[in-house]
Symmetry: C2
Subunit: 372 residues, 2 copies
């Protein structure tokens, strides 16, 4: 082993000078294209001069695949094109994960930055930029309930500014555990999906409000703001976030924006933990929202809450879950309570599990039903 | 060499299974803290099980420094704390650049994502989040001059919504080559600097408009929108972006926002290429802006333009450049034209070169002078 280590160190020392150059020029001297798509396959490439092994790890692959060193130490692998969706991938260079330096399409998932691969197709037609685009704003509201100033992402549709007297319905769109107020606009492509649906006449122009569902957070962790020091597990703070959503965020939005402030113009949808928040919100405030969409949902609906909702009335209860989602039983339980209590609803099934591919599909589907 | 390669391949094969696990748990089994700051030093760490050599590359270091493998294959290096500023760094794992997976503070510089190290101090006091924060919005405007729909980042100060009759002065803040409409809000910390200065009573509440200065771009490349097919080197399109800025963006902003639409309430500042845009804007439209701040500026000012500006009047001409900036001669030339033509102005000098540390410092300095 000694000899190998010595040689490795010698090689390492030899490259010390080269490495600074390496980074500065890492898209420079040798033109590397990655990813490169054809109609049937995709090639990934990474220039890695001193690596022993380079692999590709990707969201649609069960395990990493080896890449092969080629000319100029460009490692490559060609794979059959996966199904049309937004996938993510990275390289593993001698055991360390590396994003593709050639690919600047990046999503943030909590505290991780993921390189995207968008495979075009019918399924992704609404995930790119439309011709006419709405405004995405990052606003701050004061929460007395949570004791902090908090950030909320707000989408206003194209034409909002040009129609100064128009009032708009509002969709409150909630993220899951590990997410934040940028989850739906980054991984969820919410602005792009709404822009495209509205442009095609498939969805009503609407405001979309994407709050931060972590009660102790002022904003996404990437902003570096201190967390609240309240213990939200204290029963005194039960459902504190949902209470803030319904009694602070909704009034804030209806004051700041030209929102149509009535139940028939309020929708609530959320994924996973946000599905739980959705169910809790309509349980605690049955007359607030007429359009209700828990997606791959956590949380549970009691018979009492279902009866209250039935009595109060609503326009749409649209439940969705993937067939292989680990949390499928939870959606089945909500479906059962709705059925047992005679509440009209849709239970939308898709392939796959607890993934953004499904949540983008759900938004693209139920947004076409809202406010009609 | 054969023996080494064989052994390396064997090691590589052995780790294939482990590597998928590696990524999933790469912040998991072994708790790695990076960066870790004390009052005097900073330690960087990376878990890299199969690497031969790991180095640290950082914006304040002339060349990469070696890291040492420790327990659990966590590589580390401790360095004296650099001066208070926002720095950037990454690791080089067997020759390949890797961002710090433990550190989710990331800036985007064009098409690159850079891990940040913020060293706290007087200089960075205004770069973090203030108690009261304004809204950052991404809006779209139609440019007839450039033939495309384009994105612009707009900051409105805290209190804008609560004072529905107040009118605000506007700073047009322009980026340099390689930048886009997110450069000032990401690397430049523009929203944080303004929030802090306004909160401390050091700057007037103002709207800040950060357009995209690349005439063929609809938006940052990360949005994936097609470029314009116009050839902007055609003399027919000379200064097309500056014309769009002054005759399309300014009216758009003054229609969409409660802007105080007069020269005394309009400021223009820009760095490098954006300094050139600033000088061109006040040369073509001498009566539009009363507050003029070219930073590390490209572009040139003619004697005729200086005379027109002098005749028309202005409130502030604030030129700034770093002492070791490669483009210092250009600022010196603008200074000379101003002096030769008897235009009152400030020439602010700082240490250092053509870097964001200087542009943050300049914004933090001249924003305190505007509209007073």
């Amino acid at each position: 082993m000694n000899k190998i280590i010595t040689l490795a160190v010698a090689a390492a020392l030899a490259m010390t000078g080269a490495s600074a150059q390496e980074l500065q020029n890492f898209r420079g001297n040798v033109r590397v294209v990655s990813p490169e798509l054809t109609d049937s396959d995709v090639t990934f490439r990474l220039k890695a001069d001193y690596a022993t092994m380079v692999q590709l790890q990707a969201s649609w692959l069960a395990q990493p695949v080896a890449m092969t060193r080629g000319e100029n130490n460009v490692w490559a692998v060609t794979l059959e094109l996966p199904y049309a969706e937004i996938h993510t991938y990275n390289f593993i260079v001698d055991g360390t994960a590396v994003n593709d330096p050639q690919n600047f399409y990046v999503q943030r998932d909590g505290t991780r930055y993921l390189t995207m691969l968008t495979v075009p197709g019918e399924r992704t037609a609404n995930y790119g930029e439309a011709q006419h685009r709405g405004t995405v704003s990052y606003k701050w509201y004061d929460s007395k309930i949570l004791g902090i100033n908090r950030r909320v992402t707000v989408y206003t549709p194209y034409g909002y500014e040009k129609n100064p007297k128009a009032k708009y319905p509002v969709l409150y769109l909630l993220h899951g555990a590990g997410g934040d107020e940028e989850a739906w606009s980054s991984m969820g492509r919410a602005a792009q999906i709404l822009d495209n649906l509205i442009e095609k006449g498939l969805a009503k122009p609407m405001i979309v409000v994407m709050p931060n569902g972590n009660p102790g957070q002022q904003a996404a962790q990437t902003l570096g703001l201190p967390q609240s020091d309240i213990n939200f597990r204290d029963p005194a703070y039960a459902d504190a976030y949902v209470k803030s959503l319904c009694t602070e965020i909704v009034p804030f939005i209806e004051k700041e924006y030209r929102a149509d402030a009535k139940p028939a113009s309020r929708a609530i949808a959320g994924l996973s933990m946000g599905g739980g928040h959705t169910v809790t919100a309509v349980s605690l405030y049955p007359s607030l929202f007429d359009w209700i969409c828990p997606l791959s949902s956590a949380g549970s609906l009691t018979n009492e809450a279902a009866q209250a909702l039935k009595k109060d009335g609503y326009k749409l209860f649209w439940l969705a879950c993937g067939d292989t989602d680990f949390i499928l039983n939870n959606s089945n339980a909500i479906d059962k309570v709705l059925t047992d209590n005679g509440l009209e609803h849709t239970y939308y099934h898709s392939d796959g599990g607890h993934v953004w591919a499904n949540w983008r599909l759900y938004l693209n589907t139920f947004a076409q039903l809202l406010f009609k």
